[in-house]
C-alpha cells in the first residue's frame, strides 16, 4: 500500500512538474503541413525551395532527400540562418525522422519566430519518405 501511494505520488508530481516525455505537436500555427507527395511536387515545381533536414548529421549522411541541407535544430542560430537565407519569403521545407520527432517542429518554430513566412512542415519525415520508397540521395 505504501509503495502504491509512493508510486502515485511520483506520477502525480511528474505530471505537475511537467516531467513527462515531450511529444511533437500535431500542428504549428503559421506552418503548413505537407505529405511526401506534396513535398515532392513542391520540390519539382519550386526551384528556390530550401529543404532542411533537421536530423542529426550522421542520420543525414546515411541518406536524405536530394538537395536537402543538413541543419539540426539545435545548431540553428538566428544570425547565421538569416545571413544564409536573407529573404524572409523564401519557401522552406522542414523534415526530421517522423511524426514523433521534435526536431523539425522546433526548427519550424524557430523559423516562424525569426520571421520566415513560407514554412512547410513535412511531418511524416524520413519514415514516410522511405515507406513510400521515394528517391534517396547520399551526396
Amino acid at each position: 500500500m505504501t509503495k502504491f501511494c509512493f508510486l502515485l505520488l511520483i506520477i502525480f508530481s511528474s505530471q505537475v512538474l511537467g516531467l513527462e516525455k515531450p511529444t511533437a505537436p500535431e500542428t504549428i500555427t503559421g506552418v503548413e503541413i505537407v505529405s511526401a507527395e506534396q513535398a515532392v511536387a513542391m520540390i519539382l515545381s519550386t526551384p528556390q525551395l530550401v529543404i532542411l533536414d533537421t536530423r542529426k548529421k550522421e542520420e543525414y549522411e546515411k541518406g536524405h532527400i536530394e538537395k536537402a541541407r543538413s541543419m539540426p535544430d539545435v545548431d540553428m542560430q538566428s544570425d547565421s540562418f538569416s545571413s544564409q537565407f536573407p529573404d524572409k519569403n523564401i519557401p522552406i521545407l522542414l523534415y526530421c525522422n517522423g511524426i514523433n520527432c521534435l526536431r523539425s517542429s522546433n526548427a519550424a518554430k524557430k523559423c516562424l519566430q525569426w520571421g520566415y513566412s513560407r514554412l512547410y512542415w513535412f511531418r511524416g519525415g524520413w519514415q514516410e519518405w522511405m515507406n513510400k520508397a521515394l528517391p534517396v540521395s547520399y551526396r
Binding site: 520540390i43 519539382l44 513510400k132 528517391p135
Partner: protein, 543 residues
C-alpha cells in the same frame, strides 16, 4: 422389456442415476473429442497465421534491404552521368561494368540477398543493359541468363504505366514468376528527382524465405506454383509424410501464386498430447461422476431408501394387526411428517379398533361377552380341553319367568334385571379363564376351563344363590317373589362329546330339566340344588 411399474424406488433411482452417469460419460467423451479436434484445428490455424506473419516479415526485410542497396546504386554519380546518354554503346558497356562491379553496385557484404540481375531501362522502360548474369549462381547450376526475359516483368510494367511525375519517383516492388521460378523485383528511378531512366533489381525470394524454417523452428518446403520443390529444409521426405502440412501461398499484387510455403508440424505428437489430455479429462470426469453417483446413492440410501424400507416393514407389522407399532420418524423432512401423521392415524385406528372389538365381542346391555364371542371362546376352550385332556365346565342359565317380569315391570326394568344378573354372575367368576356371555334374551352361558363337576356345580349354585340374594322383586314368578335363575351344567371330560354343539345342547337339556323341576335350581350332571339356598354370606334366602 422392463416394466417400470414393477421396479422399486431404489431400483428406479439407481437406474436413473446410472443412466445419468453413463450419459455424462458419453457426452464428456464426445465433447472432449470435439474439443480435441477444435484444439487441433485452431493449433493448425495459429501455425498458418505464424507462417503468414513470418513470410510477410521476411518479405518486408527483403524489401527494406533491397531498397537500401538499390537506392545506393541509383544514386551512383557515374551511373547517373552515363544514363544521360544511355543509348551510346560505349556508355552501355561502362554501365554494365558498374552493374557487375560488386564494389560499385553495393552488393559487397550483402549476404541477405540472392541477386539475380540488375537491369537498366530508359524513361520509356526500354531495356538498356543488364548485369553479367552468368556471374550470379542459381539453383541447379543454371544461370539466370537462360531464364530471364529482357523486358520488365508485366506486373512492374502495369504498375509503372500512367503514373504522374510524383508517383514516377516511387520505387515499385512486386513478385513475379517466369518459367516456374519466382522472382522479386524493385524498380526505381536513376538520377533522383531528375529521372534519367530506371533500374531494376531482380532477386530470388526463395533465398530469403527459406530462413522461415529457423524462425518457425519447423521443417518447411517451398514449392513453385507448379508444385516443384524449390527448397526443402534438411529433413527427409519420409519424415515429412508423417507430419501435418500447413500451407501458405505467397501471392503477387495480381493474386498470382508465387510460391507455396508448406510448414510441417509434428501433428502426431501434438495429437498424442491432446489425446492424453482427453484421456485424463475423461478419466477425471468418469471418476468425478462415479464419486458423485456413490455420494448420491449414499444420500438416497440414508435418507430415502432406509427410512422407506423401515416404514414399509413397520407398516407391514401394523397391517398384521400390531396397531401399537410406531413408525420411527427419521429420514427426509417429508418422511418425518409422514411417519408422525401415520403414527397419529394408527393410534386413532388402534383406539377405534379397540372400540369396535369391544362392541363386536360384548353385549351392549350387560357389558359381558355376546353370543358371537361366546361361540368363538367356547369352541377354542372345548378343543383346548380335548387336546390337553382337561375338564371343561359349561353352565347354561336362564332367568325364570323373565317374560312375565318384563310384562309386569316393563322392558326398562327387565334390562336392569338382566344387567344385575350379569353383574352377579361376573362377580362369582374370579378366575381370569372363567367366561360368561349373554347367549340371548334372558339366557346366559358360563365357560369354566379346567373345572371338575363339583366345581362347576358349586359355581352354578353360587350364581343361583347370589342372584336370589339380589332380591329383585318378581311378583309374577310362581317360583319365588324374587328373581331366580335355573342353571343346567355339563362337564366335558375324556372326550365325552364329539363337538361343542353336542356339549352345549347337553347342558341346555339339563337347563330344561332344571326348569321342568320347578326352576330356581342348578343341575350339573347328576348333582342338583337343595331347596333353601345359602348366599355367600351363608344367610338363607327364603322365597
Amino acid at each position: 422389456m422392463i416394466k417400470i411399474e414393477k421396479l422399486s424406488i431404489k431400483q428406479l433411482t439407481i437406474g436413473v442415476i446410472v443412466l445419468f452417469g453413463l450419459s455424462s460419460i458419453v457426452i464428456s467423451f464426445f465433447a472432449s473429442t470435439y474439443f480435441l479436434n477444435s484444439a487441433l484445428k485452431y493449433q493448425y490455424h495459429s501455425f498458418a497465421r505464424v507462417i503468414q506473419i513470418g513470410s510477410q516479415e521476411s518479405v518486408s526485410q527483403l524489401r527494406a534491404t533491397l531498397l537500401k542497396v538499390a537506392s545506393n546504386l541509383a544514386s551512383n554519380r557515374s551511373l547517373t552521368k552515363l544514363m544521360s546518354s544511355a543509348l551510346e554503346k560505349k556508355n552501355q558497356m561502362a554501365m554494365k561494368g558498374i552493374l557487375d562491379d560488386t564494389l560499385q553496385n553495393g552488393f559487397v557484404g550483402v549476404a541477405q540477398i540472392n541477386l539475380v540481375a540488375i537491369r537498366l531501362f530508359t524513361t520509356e522502360l526500354k531495356p538498356i543493359t543488364k548485369s553479367q548474369l552468368d556471374a550470379i549462381p542459381m539453383n541447379g547450376g543454371q544461370t539466370s541468363e537462360q531464364w530471364l526475359p529482357n523486358e520488365l516483368p508485366k506486373i512492374i510494367q502495369l504498375k509503372a504505366a500512367n503514373r504522374n511525375p510524383v508517383e514516377q519517383l516511387k520505387a515499385i516492388f512486386d513478385f513475379w514468376r517466369f518459367k516456374g521460378r519466382p522472382y522479386y523485383s524493385v524498380m526505381l528511378p536513376i538520377g533522383g528527382f531528375n529521372v534519367k531512366g530506371y533500374m531494376e533489381l531482380v532477386v530470388d525470394p526463395v533465398f530469403n524465405l527459406r530462413r522461415l524454417a529457423n524462425i518457425l523452428h519447423m521443417p518447411i518446403k517451398i514449392l513453385s506454383h507448379k508444385e516443384e520443390t524449390l527448397f526443402q529444409s534438411g529433413i527427409s521426405s519420409e519424415t515429412l509424410i508423417n507430419m501435418h502440412p500447413i500451407e501458405y501461398e505467397l501471392q503477387s499484387s495480381l493474386y498470382e501464386t508465387i510460391v507455396k510455403i508448406i510448414a510441417y508440424t509434428d501433428a502426431e505428437s501434438l495429437k498424442k498430447e491432446l489425446i492424453e489430455a482427453q484421456a485424463y479429462t475423461s478419466m477425471f470426469f468418469l471418476g468425478l461422476t462415479l464419486f458423485s453417483l456413490l455420494i448420491a446413492l449414499w444420500i438416497f440410501n440414508r435418507y430415502l431408501f432406509e427410512p422407506l424400507s423401515k416404514m414399509v416393514s413397520q407398516i407391514k407389522l401394523i397391517t398384521q394387526g400390531n396397531l401399537q407399532t410406531n413408525v420411527a420418524p427419521f429420514g427426509l423432512k417429508e418422511f418425518s411428517l409422514l411417519a408422525t401423521n401415520f403414527n397419529i392415524m394408527t393410534a386413532q385406528l388402534h383406539e377405534r379398533t379397540k372400540i369396535l372389538d369391544h362392541l363386536s365381542k360384548n353385549d351392549a346391555l350387560t357389558g359381558i361377552a355376546n353370543r358371537r364371542y361366546f361361540q368363538e371362546t367356547f369352541e377354542r376352550e372345548f378343543y383346548r380341553a380335548r387336546r390337553n385332556g382337561q375338564p371343561l365346565g359349561l353352565l347354561v342359565l336362564d332367568i325364570d319367568y323373565f317374560k312375565k317380569y318384563n310384562d309386569s315391570y316393563g322392558h326398562q326394568q327387565g334390562d336392569i334385571c338382566l344387567q344385575n344378573v350379569a353383574q352377579a354372575i361376573s362377580q362369582v367368576l374370579v378366575r381370569p379363564s372363567d367366561f360368561v356371555a349373554r347367549y340371548g334374551g334372558e339366557e346366559f352361558v358360563i365357560v369354566l376351563p379346567d373345572t371338575a363337576k363339583e366345581g362347576v356345580f358349586h359355581i352354578g349354585e353360587q350364581i343361583r344363590t347370589d342372584v336370589l340374594a339380589l332380591k329383585l322383586n318378581h311378583q309374577a314368578s310362581s317360583v319365588c317373589k324374587f328373581v331366580t335363575v335355573s342353571i343346567g351344567g355339563r362337564v366335558f371330560c375324556q372326550n365325552n362329546y364329539n363337538n361343542p354343539d353336542d356339549f352345549l345342547k347337553s347342558a341346555d337339556d339339563l337347563l330344561y330339566m332344571a326348569k321342568s323341576k320347578n326352576r330356581n335350581r342348578v343341575i350339573v350332571e347328576n348333582m342338583q340344588s337343595l331347596e333353601n339356598p345359602l348366599t355367600k354370606q351363608n344367610i338363607a334366602v327364603s322365597c
